[in-house]
């Protein structure tokens, strides 16, 4: 299974994602520069965290016009597995690949800490190695993670079981329905604010993010 990690100017979690796939999951992985337009060789593409284009105008607003994004839309349309983590999630909403938007945290602060999440849906290619309603400890690091959408969209997300992760115990950023991560209806696009790649090995303080990578491999080899 071949992974790709997109690098935008200002991405800063690209190496963390690369390491989680290369050193921990032990699968082939390449960086994809944002100007690249040939994506046929990839089975799973990760949009990593960071501050693409300096977060100018709005987080993710400029990155979605990168040449690679047009091809990523086609990749996702073909059913390719696509994950946006943190800034990657913000880019996916700006690009219209996931509904809603990521707004400023309720308390206006940049929050960097480990939080507890509840796995709400294990019937996705990204979560099949978790247990139903499992509580996992994964760090967040964001200033704009407050998931916001209109009432109809929220109803749809619930009805279609698109809410994949919620904050458990405390909601750090004020997100609607405690949302930490959602997927599209087809289940092949996931966006999440927490960083599973930063919780992929015991030495990092938590391994709770690693089942996400194992899930992807499992769903691919089935």
């Amino acid at each position: 299974m071949r992974f790709g990690v997109v690098v935008f100017p200002g991405s800063n979690c690209d190496h963390d994602c690369f390491d989680a796939v290369h050193d921990v999951l032990k699968q082939p992985v390449e960086f994809i520069w944002h100007g690249e337009t040939k994506l046929d060789r990839f089975d799973c593409i990760i949009l990593p965290g960071g501050f693409s284009y300096g977060d100018y105008l709005r987080t993710g607003a400029i990155a979605r016009f990168s040449p690679v994004m047009e091809k990523i839309k086609l990749f996702a349309g073909r059913g390719g597995l696509l994950i946006g983590i943190c800034n990657g999630f913000q880019i996916l909403t700006e690009a219209g690949l996931l509904p809603g938007a990521l707004h400023k945290n309720k308390n206006l602060s940049f929050i960097c800490k480990h939080v507890n999440l509840k796995v709400e849906n294990i019937a996705t290619p990204f979560t099949n190695k978790y247990k139903k309603s499992q509580i996992v400890n994964i760090p967040i690091a964001h200033g704009e993670g407050n998931y916001t959408c209109d009432a109809d969209t929220l109803k749809d997300l619930k009805k279609n079981k698109q809410i994949v992760f919620t904050y458990y115990g405390e909601n750090p950023n004020g997100s609607a329905a405690n949302i930490a991560g959602i997927c599209n209806k087809k289940r092949n696009v996931l966006g999440m604010m927490p960083h599973p790649e930063r919780a992929s090995e015991a030495i990092l303080g938590s391994e709770d993010g690693f089942p996400l990578f194992k899930s992807i491999l499992h769903s691919f080899s089935k």
Binding site: L57, R58, A61, F65, T93, E94, G100, A101, H103, K104, N105, K106, N107, L108, N146, T148, C149, D150, G174
Partner: protein
């Protein structure tokens, strides 16, 4: 050349934490007679052409596509010669 001013603010019903905190600060300074403080973005640009020559339509399109995110933001703009 038309001069365009675009104002982007949080949509009604979407929390504007900056506005809320500045409002509290103004209240604590003793200005208790104010409410609904909103903090947004102000964008200026110049477009070739003049009012009525498709400028309004173009600015509206640019706001929808890039300058504002309609999920969380409202926008309005002024076009001057």
């Amino acid at each position: 050349m038309a001069k365009v001013k675009v104002y982007v603010t949080a949509k009604k019903g979407v929390l504007d934490p900056q506005g809320k905190i500045v409002e509290q600060a103004l209240h604590s300074l003793g200005y208790k007679n104010l409410s609904n403080v909103k903090i947004g973005k102000y964008i200026e640009l110049e477009i070739k052409g003049s009012k009525g020559q498709g400028v309004d339509g173009q600015v509206n399109e640019m706001c929808k596509k890039l300058l504002a995110n309609p999920v969380i933001e409202d926008y309005r703009f002024e076009v001057a010669e």
